[in-house]
Symmetry: C2
Subunit: 213 residues, 2 copies
């Protein structure tokens, strides 16, 4: 498989973790977001949305959108599973993943921060406050959902990593980079540390990629 990726993209980081957890070999093709390569004509031919990641599957299909890619991997390479077997657990894991992927990450994307500073003329302090605001909103809810549930185990759901952890870890790494205070979220911190101790997560970290600078 071939993964169009950028070392610092949270969405690409998710797919790297999922591929690693499932033990699927892949080659990375770096797309430099800071240089705007995602917006270039060549990349847009592959993914008209001009965002990373994109995954070329073993049979040549082009897949986009990190969560849709993870669901595809789950259906094609079910072992080890990223979703629990029972429907209530599946709904919980997907909800935790979506809380991050829909309600935190899209607001703090590079393209959004660029619009804030460029078009709206927001200053650096306001930009950081914006970033931290959405992390606080999301992580406060996520901490409650994790801390108060008997379904939470070593990881977000039970004692094996799931799609929820695949989304959690890149969001935590991102929040740390932007100096968010994480002490109000002990469960999130504990789970994120448990994930980072696994090679599948560690090897997917932005600091370990071929395009890391």
């Amino acid at each position: 498989m071939k993964l169009y990726s950028y070392f610092r993209s949270s969405a690409a980081y998710r797919v790297r973790i999922a591929l690693n957890l499932k033990g699927i070999a892949y080659e990375q093709v770096p797309v430099n977001l800071l240089k705007g390569e995602d917006q270039g004509e060549d990349y847009r031919k592959l993914n008209p949305q001009g965002l990373v990641p994109a995954l070329i599957t073993a049979d040549g299909q082009v897949l986009i959108q990190s969560l849709a890619i993870c669901e595809y991997l789950e259906e094609h390479y079910p072992d080890p599973p990223l979703l629990p077997a029972a429907a209530p657990g599946r709904a919980r894991v997907r909800a935790l993943a979506d809380l991050i992927a829909c309600d935190i990450h899209p607001l703090n994307n590079l393209r959004v921060l660029k619009y804030l500073t460029g078009t709206l003329g927001v200053d650096k302090e306001q930009k950081i406050a914006w970033y931290q605001h959405w992390v606080v909103e999301g992580f406060t809810a996520l901490e409650a959902l994790l801390a108060d549930s008997p379904d939470t185990g070593r990881f977000c759901h039970g004692d094996q990593p799931t799609l929820a952890d695949v989304c959690l870890v890149p969001q935590v790494a991102n929040a740390q980079r932007l100096a968010c205070e994480l002490s109000p979220y002990p469960t999130i911190q504990r789970i994120s540390a448990a994930c980072d101790a696994l090679p599948a997560f560690a090897q997917a970290h932005p600091s370990q990629q071929p395009d890391t600078v």
Copy 2:
């Protein structure tokens, strides 16, 4: 089933469509976002994230996050399906849905627009420009993905409504309400109109809800 909903919420609108398409009876409990009822203590006990929708299932489980709810409905009530049978099609439908649910809608949510005008002091014109910017970004990509694919039919994927249409229609309704110019997106408009002609979509429209004002 009981759906905590707000007539104008795109995420709740998605779940109403999915429930209607699958012929599942449900009672609506209105949560008035303009009055901040979603942020109230009572509602947060149900959904710590303080967002609509939340669905109480037939067996009393509380489900949150519209896409996770739709996937749950798909697994429990597979007929009629909202996802194609084959994996490449499933990945395509989920990617189209996620493009809307992750990359357009979260940026144009009420809570985000409130932060822009309240905390950042953005004026009305800038707010509308922000809204339209993310619709243009997303719909331009979506139009290309739909117009250029042989998989597109009467609906986003083939000739039966899928999860992609469930997400598309509320986003189009929302864009129309905010006076976005939709003529550059003929395929989106055509599909949206085909959906609106079906009772499952028409009955889920914000103008037809018990809390419509």
